[in-house]
């Protein structure tokens, strides 16, 4: 941890006074929510904890969305908030908010430090809890007067966490059952999620897939956990998953779920999810097992350890030619496709992929552009696709990209966003400009809250209730006002030169593409529908 993100204010003035002399780098965001997302971006891109700081009251409440986002996607961040003085707590003092109460259901743990002697141990415990087991956000609320007192500093402080179990060994019997089930399966499917990336199990996943000839599907959180150009990869599963992946789920006789939580966007109608399959569910969080789908073989453990244990019981290689062939036919019959006329968002992303050779770190916002980014920017490496998957937070993309660019200097970091999401944290253009953070923003502008409009088209009689973004600014001029170079493209031909210029320019850059306004994301499983009943394109 070398960088923190935040905004100073009354209750954290003493803390900031010392921070400025500490040698820790501080990035001044323009809204506390962006500080939380930037901390998330930092953590998602590296696996190291991200840190954000805000003052009491509104500063702290502005962090809430970012904290909730980190909680849903199991991202280790530590939020440090100022609080009014200990004696003032509970008096509705100026800029007082009960932030430990407010964040109770969206933090893995939170603390109010009421005694200077507890401060060092609490901070230590906060980082320990945030980063171990199933990671997650932790908040430490520090009253102003605590930060002006002095105490003897002992390091490392002793942790006392009798109720916290972060290390769980895979159960030998269940490992044996899992191995036997894998050997017996004729149509196995590896279903990988964010837990694979968190535990660093991508090599083990690859080994298991290759040695046992098991096709791989992913949740959005799993993007990067398996090389998407690999012949065994069949795509994302669920609402906007590939046809082949969704068909495979309906046919498979064994799902090996690793670090996944069977979100409703993945399963569609639960009763119809993987109707023929036995389910092996590997997760470090026991509460995920059986929460949504019953697991026939549960393994509560770190994904990497569990997979290593299973691999050790599978000495023989295996092949599933008939199953592979069946999937291949689905893939050939139902590739991702879009109409080539006009300026299509998919084309912009495909060209971005080509020009960056698939090696950029991508952060997305939330909406149609997010799904197009998943579909048309295949990634090869873990921690190279950062997205707000569980909470679906519009406004996540640019600040998360900022955090990633700071954490991984020298790498190309691209924020793919839409005109709706971008405006939910557009003030961060100032932060990019201030520190010359080299984030390339690709703004896919259709003048709509596009995903909302798409749902209205399909499920609400095309009554586009308040989803059209009237009053959008001239985004190029906005960027320029913040002293960022920017370019707008309106035709196919302009896309490549603009992207080339953006990638060749040092520092931040904005490319705005005025895309086909009513382009939809396909395939699409209607909410609550079954996975093999997809809408696969063409206007209706």
């Amino acid at each position: 941890m070398d960088t923190v993100f935040g905004i100073p204010g009354g209750a954290v003035l003493p803390l900031y006074h010392e921070l400025a002399a500490s040698g820790i780098r501080h990035i001044l965001t323009r809204h506390e929510q962006a500080a939380a997302h930037a901390a998330e971006g930092y953590a998602r891109a590296t696996g190291r904890p991200g840190v954000c700081i805000a003052t009491s009251g509104p500063g702290a409440t502005n962090l809430v969305t970012g904290i909730a986002d980190a909680y849903m996607d199991s991202i280790p961040i530590v939020a440090i908030t100022g609080q009014v003085g200990v004696a003032m707590i509970g008096h509705d003092s100026f800029q007082e908010a009960d932030i430990t109460g407010i964040t109770l259901p969206i933090t893995k743990a939170n603390y109010l430090v009421k005694n200077i002697r507890d401060l060092a141990a609490t901070i230590h415990e906060a980082f320990y809890v945030a980063t171990t087991g199933r990671p997650g956000p932790v908040l430490v609320d520090i009253p102003k007067d605590i930060t002006t007192q002095r105490a003897a500093f002992h390091y490392p402080p002793k942790l006392r966490l009798p109720g916290y179990r972060s290390r769980v060994e895979p159960h030998a019997l269940q490992v044996a059952q899992a191995a036997a089930a894998i050997l017996a399966a004729e149509k196995p499917l590896l279903f990988i999620g964010g837990g694979v990336i968190t535990s660093g199990a991508h090599e083990e996943v690859r080994q298991l897939a290759e040695e046992q000839d098991i096709p791989v599907i992913m949740s959005m959180m799993g993007k990067g956990a398996f090389p998407e150009t690999h012949p065994l990869f069949i795509g994302m599963v669920g609402m906007h998953g590939t046809v082949a992946a969704n068909y495979a789920v309906c046919e498979t006789d064994l799902i090996i779920g690793v670090g996944v939580r069977f979100d409703d966007r993945v399963t569609g109608k639960i009763e119809a999810f993987a109707p023929r399959a036995k389910i092996i569910h590997i997760d470090i969080d026991a509460a995920e097992i059986g929460k949504v789908v019953p697991a026939h073989i549960p393994i509560v453990a770190d994904a990497r350890q569990a997979l290593q244990a299973i691999l050790a019981r599978l000495p023989e290689k295996k092949e599933h030619p008939a199953w592979r062939q069946k999937i291949k036919v689905w893939q050939d019959e139902h590739p991702l496709r879009y109409d080539e006329c006009g300026l299509k968002p998919q084309y912009v992303i495909e060209e971005l992929y080509r020009l960056t050779e698939g090696r950029a770190v991508i952060a997305t916002d939330v909406g149609q552009h997010q799904m197009w980014a998943v579909q048309y920017y295949p990634v090869e490496r873990p921690r190279s696709f950062l997205s707000s998957c569980g909470l679906g937070t519009m406004g996540f993309g640019v600040p998360a990209a900022m955090g990633a660019a700071i954490a991984r200097p020298g790498e190309t970091v691209v924020a793919i966003t839409g005109d709706g999401s971008f405006q939910m944290n557009i003030q961060e253009l100032a932060t990019l400009s201030h520190y010359r953070i080299p984030v390339k923003i690709i703004l896919l502008n259709n003048g709509y809250l596009g995903m909302v409009r798409q749902w209205q088209e399909f499920f609400f009689e095309r009554r586009y209730a308040y989803s059209e973004m009237g009053g959008n600014p001239d985004f190029v001029k906005v960027a320029e006002a913040y002293r960022l170079p920017a370019r707008r493209v309106t035709t196919r031909e302009e896309v490549v030169p603009a992207l080339e210029e953006a990638l060749a320019t040092d520092g931040p850059y904005l490319v705005e593409a005025l895309i086909d306004r009513e382009e939809n994301v396909f395939p699409m499983v209607p909410p609550g529908g079954t996975l093999n009943k997809m809408v696969t394109g063409g206007r209706q």
Binding site: G101, L104, P105, Y128, L161, G163, S166
Partner: protein, 172 residues
């Protein structure tokens, strides 16, 4: 299906909020919750009676176990245990019916702890069935107020639901 959970928790501010918040957030039905400190002042015990099917009970236990402040959780429903609840009940009692009420109190081995001109306060302990039966027997007289603690429970015999915990003692 009602299950009785005996839960050891850290005696820290906010623990009760965390546990109660978990139930409301995830939509579980809590029947009763009683909490007090144990023989070790840094540790409290909660006795929670929860209602739900097997899957819900399993989730409740797993989610509770996940809370860092929860040291140990046992479902003691199927273990032999003593379960008790305390009730205070204020009942209408004209002098004409007092004798009758006192008989009922005797039968249930309850006690009268306060007398006013037209009412009595009765104190009773027992399992939920007994407490319910007493309440029903007193209903014809007119119940003014009922206060119940919720169930507390302890395993029978020498066994204890002890403090041995499997958590992380130290971190790096």
């Amino acid at each position: 299906m009602k299950r009785t959970l005996s839960v050891l928790v850290e005696n820290r501010p906010g623990v009760l909020t965390r546990v109660a918040g978990l139930f409301s957030r995830r939509g579980y039905n809590i029947d009763s919750l009683a909490v007090g400190r144990t023989e070790n002042p840094t540790i409290s015990r909660m006795t929670i009676v929860v209602d739900g099917d097997e899957q819900i009970i399993e989730q409740v236990c797993k989610q509770l176990n996940k809370l860092i402040d929860v040291i140990k959780l046992s479902d003691i429903t199927d273990d032999p245990h003593v379960g008790r609840e305390l009730m205070l009940i204020k009942v209408n009692a004209d002098p004409a019916v007092r004798g009758e009420i006192m008989q009922i109190v005797d039968i249930f081995r309850a006690r009268i702890v306060d007398i006013a001109r037209n009412s009595l306060i009765i104190e009773a302990t027992g399992d939920a069935d007994k407490i319910d039966a007493l309440e029903n027997s007193l209903r014809p007289f007119g119940i003014r107020e009922v206060v119940r603690t919720g169930k507390i429970a302890m395993l029978r015999g020498a066994k204890t639901k002890g403090m041995e915990a499997s958590g992380d003692g130290t971190g790096d």
